[in-house]
């Protein structure tokens, strides 16, 4: 799948991605160089929980990438996180690569 090609940047948040931690995650994405970043991968392997704040951060990042001509790829959500993403319809739109190996595997 084309979306699973080597990303230009990988972010790997960990623990709870909730209202407390989502702003920091958002800041991390914002500090990535503009324009030059074509594919940002968000590796969710270490994320144990995602709240609506975390989903919003992914949505904002997805839009920012699209506007700049890039892509946002989400990797390895755990079954619980994936279920929440599905509940909100994010599975229909975000590029998810469940089988891409990561350094933590």
């Amino acid at each position: 799948m084309d979306d699973c090609r080597e990303p230009d940047h990988t972010l790997a948040p960990s623990g709870r991605l909730d209202a407390l931690t989502a702003p920091e995650f958002d800041r991390q994405i914002c500090t990535l160089p503009d324009g030059a970043t074509k594919v940002i991968a968000v590796d969710l392997t270490q994320v144990t929980y995602i709240a609506s704040s975390g989903l919003r951060a992914l949505l904002v990042a997805h839009r920012r990438q699209q506007q700049g001509g890039g892509r946002l790829v989400v990797r390895h959500p755990n079954p619980r996180v994936w279920a929440v993403m599905q509940l909100c319809g994010f599975d229909q739109i975000l590029d998810v690569c469940p089988d891409t190996p990561t350094t933590n595997d």
Binding site: R16, D18, A19, L20, Y49, A51, S52, S53, L55, R56, L59, V60, H62, R63, Q66, R80, V84, L87, C88, G89, F90, I93, L94
Partner: protein, 143 residues
């Protein structure tokens, strides 16, 4: 009626969300909810408490959030009370999850999740002048 009641009172700080989740998780497990139901109640509570902290208290960290868990009519109930400014759920736009992500509104997702994760949701003004959100999850094994 004398069913066990669990109560937690925390400051309106987002850093308390994990503690609230653990507290509700334990009470829900003791009430006999299965693992999936426990998670759903924890998440709905997390979203409701986030609303209290971010909207009712507008980020102020010196407010109080009360979380009370009990069993009523075979439902596990979580009641969240704050003393912040009135919250009007009707004013929050419901997200249309069939829209492409590019066209979605950013807000409203928390409320959408609350309604999807529990069986009944009730918003009220607390007699003490704050907001009271009551979440009910039926204690059936099959859903």
């Amino acid at each position: 009626m004398t069913t066990a009641e669990y109560e937690l009172c925390v400051a309106s700080q987002l850093g308390k969300l994990a503690e609230i989740s653990d507290f509700v998780g334990e009470a829900a497990t003791r009430a006999g909810l299965d693992e999936g139901q426990v998670f759903e109640v924890q998440m709905a509570t997390d979203e409701a408490c986030t609303n209290s902290m971010e909207h009712a208290y507008e980020g102020r960290e010196d407010g109080e959030v009360h979380v009370c868990c009990f069993i009523e009519n075979n439902s596990f109930v979580v009641r969240i009370t704050d003393f912040g400014k009135p919250f009007e759920p009707a004013e929050v736009p419901q997200p249309d999850i069939t829209l492409p992500l590019e066209e979605r509104s950013i807000g409203g997702l928390g409320l959408f999740l609350i309604y999807r994760l529990v069986d009944d949701v009730e918003f009220a003004r607390d007699v003490g002048g704050g907001n009271q959100v009551t979440l009910r999850k039926h204690r059936s094994k099959e859903e």
